[in-house]
């Protein structure tokens, strides 16, 4: 009898297995195969698949402020300028010049540009876009009513923008503002809630043909009447993946970023190509100088720089995938990086020397004290980066500085830093490749920040150095690129001497793809991701 029962159960299991195999059969035919075309022309791809996720509807107003929504939106919406490896290039504007010492910008709009609905793009649309973006700031635009005095149309294809105050970043801000069709948006009063199909009509190289909020999928098709370079990828699909590397190995997606520990899987295999991203994501250690007097001493901050072994940090925390932080803040990959600034090579002796000079010459239980009995013991606030904090603790401990690690969740850390409730803190974020003007946002006294900012620009109260402030304000108004570069170089020197904050390291990510399938990937000059660049999908000369 019992035997009979177990036979039944086994047959049930067999049946279940059979059914699962049945289901298996039906999705097999959806295999994605993008054929490489004739070798004589540049390689094109029919379909490129990438890891997706829901980042919002792709109008310039509806995508989410976090994550790569803005870059997906840019596939649909063009702007006057575009970014290549070296800097800005003419895009919707075939020519541009700054006049009156940066008070005016004259853009010549390209002819024969069409919106996705077939209507022609005119200078009127450009004028409208600037005005509209001033009135309703786009999620990632940087222009506001405080910036622009007036926008005029000159002739039939030129747009003259007069700004309130000349600024070095204005060209970039104007040039990257998305151009939207007047005939669609002029009647929209609440752009955030405008989620019609018309809201994603742009003049960019791709049309959004499918978007699923719940699944986090996007599908783009090449726009046939695109004015610009031919699309090398006909269809781009973003699909959700559980494990990106697994999905890449299985051919579900065509490119992914990989962590250093799985790199060997792809390293010596000719079918894969690995590229290293520019290191534009970094950690900085900040000092709350208002609360803790000793932090105001330059020598103390320098001593910390000497005590930290940045290479060791990168080795232990990043498994080697990082670039040591520059004392001048701007990362080495930055177009305005000054390679000659003072750097603090790891040296406990020098750190100790500086601390002794400050009067902390006695050791008590391994912690330095001065004659008043004040201990060099501080709290280090981190939002989960415990490993990093522990290594720092170990480094500083060798110089007699005691660190108590306080680990909270990221949001709590942000809130406490914002309210000045910390001694030392570490924050990590991207954007280090952005325009060097972020130095002004971070370190100048009289910064009047406008529009939306990024964590990269967040400044922390308590630090003031008039000389540096003046210089940073001056570069902001300098239109001449070479002149400005000199000023930024000088600012980095001042920063390196004064170290108001410490750039710990910038992380490197690795991307891997199969060149056999598609090889058009490129990095924009200020950004770390291959898939975010519009030019990654277009033909190049």
């Amino acid at each position: 009898m019992p035997k009979k029962r177990s036979v039944k159960i086994i047959s049930l299991l067999v049946l279940l297995t059979f059914f699962s195999c049945l289901f298996y059969g039906c999705s097999k035919d959806n295999d994605n195969t993008a054929k490489a075309s004739k070798p004589e022309s540049k390689k094109t791809a029919d379909v490129i698949r990438l890891a997706g996720g829901n980042y919002g509807y792709l109008s310039p107003y509806a995508h989410y402020p976090r994550g790569p929504g803005s870059f997906k939106m840019r596939l649909i919406f063009d702007s006057l300028l575009e970014k290549d490896e070296k800097g800005y290039i003419p895009w919707l504007a075939e020519k541009y010049e700054s006049k009156e010492n940066g008070k005016q910008y004259l853009f010549t709009i390209r002819d024969n540009v069409k919106w996705h609905d077939g209507k022609p793009l005119t200078a009127e649309d450009v004028k409208f876009s600037f005005k509209y973006a001033c009135k309703h700031p786009m999620v990632s635009s940087s222009i506001s009513q405080n910036d622009i005095e007036k926008v005029e149309i000159v002739g039939d294809r030129q747009v003259l923008v007069t700004v309130k105050k000349p600024s070095a970043v204005m060209l970039g801000n104007l040039g990257t503002t998305r151009i939207i069709p007047k005939h669609i948006w002029e009647n929209v009063d609440n752009p955030k809630e405008f989620l019609d199909e018309e809201a994603v009509i742009g003049c960019g190289p791709y049309i959004l043909t499918d978007y699923s909020k719940e699944h986090g999928t996007y599908r783009f098709e090449a726009f046939k009447d695109y004015w610009g370079p031919k699309q090398r990828v006909k269809v781009i699909e973003f699909i959700p993946v559980s494990e990106a590397i697994l999905a890449f190995e299985q051919g579900e997606i065509d490119m992914t970023s990989v962590t250093p520990d799985v790199l060997p899987r792809f390293e010596n295999d000719p079918q894969y190509k690995i590229v290293e991203s520019p290191a534009f994501w970094g950690y900085r250690m900040i000092f709350n100088m208002g609360e803790t007097p000793v932090f105001r001493q330059k020598e103390f901050r320098q001593a910390i720089c000497y005590a930290l072994d940045k290479d060791d940090l990168i080795e232990k925390v990043q498994r080697g995938a990082g670039v040591p932080g520059s004392a001048g803040v701007l990362p080495p990959g930055h177009i305005m990086y000054n390679p000659n600034v003072k750097q603090y090579d790891h040296s406990i002796e020098k750190a100790v020397e500086l601390l002794e000079k400050l009067g902390y010459d006695k050791l008590k239980n391994g912690v330095r004290v001065n004659s008043k009995g004040e201990k060099l013991s501080f709290n280090l606030l981190v939002g989960g980066e415990v490993r990093l904090a522990e290594v720092i603790k170990e480094h500083l401990g060798k110089a007699g500085i005691e660190i108590n690690v306080q680990s909270v969740d990221g949001k709590t850390r942000d809130a406490r830093v914002n309210e000045n409730k910390y001694q030392l803190a570490i924050t990590g974020h991207g954007g280090w490749g952005n325009d060097a003007d972020y130095l002004r946002e971070r370190f100048s006294d009289d910064t009047t920040s406008s529009g939306s900012i990024s964590p990269n620009m967040a400044r922390f109260k308590g630090y003031s150095k008039p000389e540096l402030s003046q210089l940073l304000e001056k570069q902001f108004e300098t239109i001449d690129e070479n002149e400005r570069k000199k000023q930024i170089f000088e600012a980095q020197e001042l920063l390196a001497e004064d170290v108001p904050e410490i750039a710990l390291f910038y992380t490197i990510s690795y991307y891997v793809y199969k060149p056999e399938k598609y090889d058009g990937w490129m990095f924009m000059f200020d950004h770390h991701s291959l898939e975010h660049s519009k030019l990654s999908y277009l033909e190049r000369d």
Partner: protein, 333 residues
């Protein structure tokens, strides 16, 4: 009888009110607010954050700078009108965001409850009947082992083994994207195919508990006099188990099934993250991360109502299965 029903209803309403209050207070007790980003999460994360003025503007716009109590009453009054609010991060009504996702989670949970109960009860009965013999011992050891593995770990094992290794199942998602289905039927098959691994993970994770419970319950019932009578009458084993024993052994199992729905929703959330399944799980994680108060409140409210609903159903079903419960209540009155 009516009074008792009214009392029950009151209890449920009170529970909902307490939960709503907690849902409202807890997210706000977290430091930070939805508009403060000073850091990016991981390498590659892009963040647009707000200047202090913008932040204040948004706080005012969403009424987040008002006293907590007045926010609370505004929330309650909107809730009574069926308005769950507007998500700060997703820029859409909370109800529509949740409705889009809810079906997937409910589907996973119900399927997992169904299979784990069915298989668990069957194996439990077998074990009870063969108590202390090798069948029982093997099953027992096996079940104890797998019941200790958390669902998401099972999910990972299944993902690497069956999906990545043997390529029997898709790696992620709930459906083949951008597919052109010939029939509705092929779409349904596709959805089922995608759901097998998550459901299996959840089912296995629940199986141990169900098995132990039904084994216990069955053992108790099998020791009862009426079973011995049935055996003495020479009834077939099948008949004894399914006609006489199972019905009585089912009582605690039914209760357990409904009570376990709440726990399963929790497990489903983790499993969904493993398979990038578009249920409430991922949504909940993100809403908490971004401090999207209305969305957090909405999700927790929906989950609460689901659990209460399950409890309520279990009350009803229990009464049906065990006539004594209904009679007892009448007698008390």
């Amino acid at each position: 009888m009516k009074g008792i029903k009214g009392g029950r209803l009151g209890e449920y309403l009170l529970t909902i009110l307490i939960v709503v209050t907690l849902n409202f207070m807890l997210p706000r007790a977290m430091p930070g607010d939805p508009f403060l980003f000073l850091s990016g999460e991981e390498a590659g994360d892009i963040v647009v954050s707000y200047s202090e003025e913008q932040r204040q503007l948004y706080l005012e716009f969403y009424g987040l700078n008002k006293p907590v109590l007045s926010q609370y009453f505004a929330y309650l009054s909107e809730l009574c009108r069926g308005n769950l609010g507007f998500s700060l991060y997703y820029n859409a009504p909370v109800s529509s965001i949740i409705l889009n996702r809810l079906g997937w989670t409910v589907f996973l949970v119900l399927a997992a409850v169904f299979f784990s109960t069915l298989i668990g009860a069957a194996l439990g009965s077998i074990s009870a009947w063969h108590r202390e013999k090798w069948v029982d011992k093997t099953l027992y050891a096996l079940m104890i082992t797998i019941s200790e593995i958390p669902a998401f770990l099972l999910g990972l094992i299944l993902l690497f083994g069956l999906a990545a290794g043997l390529k029997l199942f898709p790696l992620s998602g709930a459906i083949t994207h951008f597919a052109d289905y010939q029939h509705l039927w092929s779409k349904i098959l596709d959805i089922l195919h995608h759901s097998i691994l998550p459901i299996t993970a959840l089912t296995i994770a629940r199986l141990g508990g169900m098995y132990l419970l039904s084994r216990n319950s069955m053992t108790t019932v099998l020791a009862k006099d009426y079973i011995r009578t049935a055996q003495a009458k020479g009834l077939l084993k099948k008949r004894i188990i399914y006609r006489h024993a199972l019905k009585n052994a089912l009582l605690p199992i039914v209760t357990r099934v409904f009570l376990s729905i709440g726990g399963l929703v929790g497990g489903a959330i983790l499993v969904e993250n493993v398979f990038a399944y578009p249920g409430l799980g991922l949504l909940m994680r993100q809403s908490v991360m971004y401090h999207d108060y209305p969305l957090i409140q909405g999700i927790f409210l929906v989950v609460t109502i689901l659990v209460l609903l399950a409890n309520f159903t279990s009350d009803l079903v229990y009464k049906k299965l065990d006539p004594r419960v209904g009679q007892l209540e009448v007698a008390q009155k």
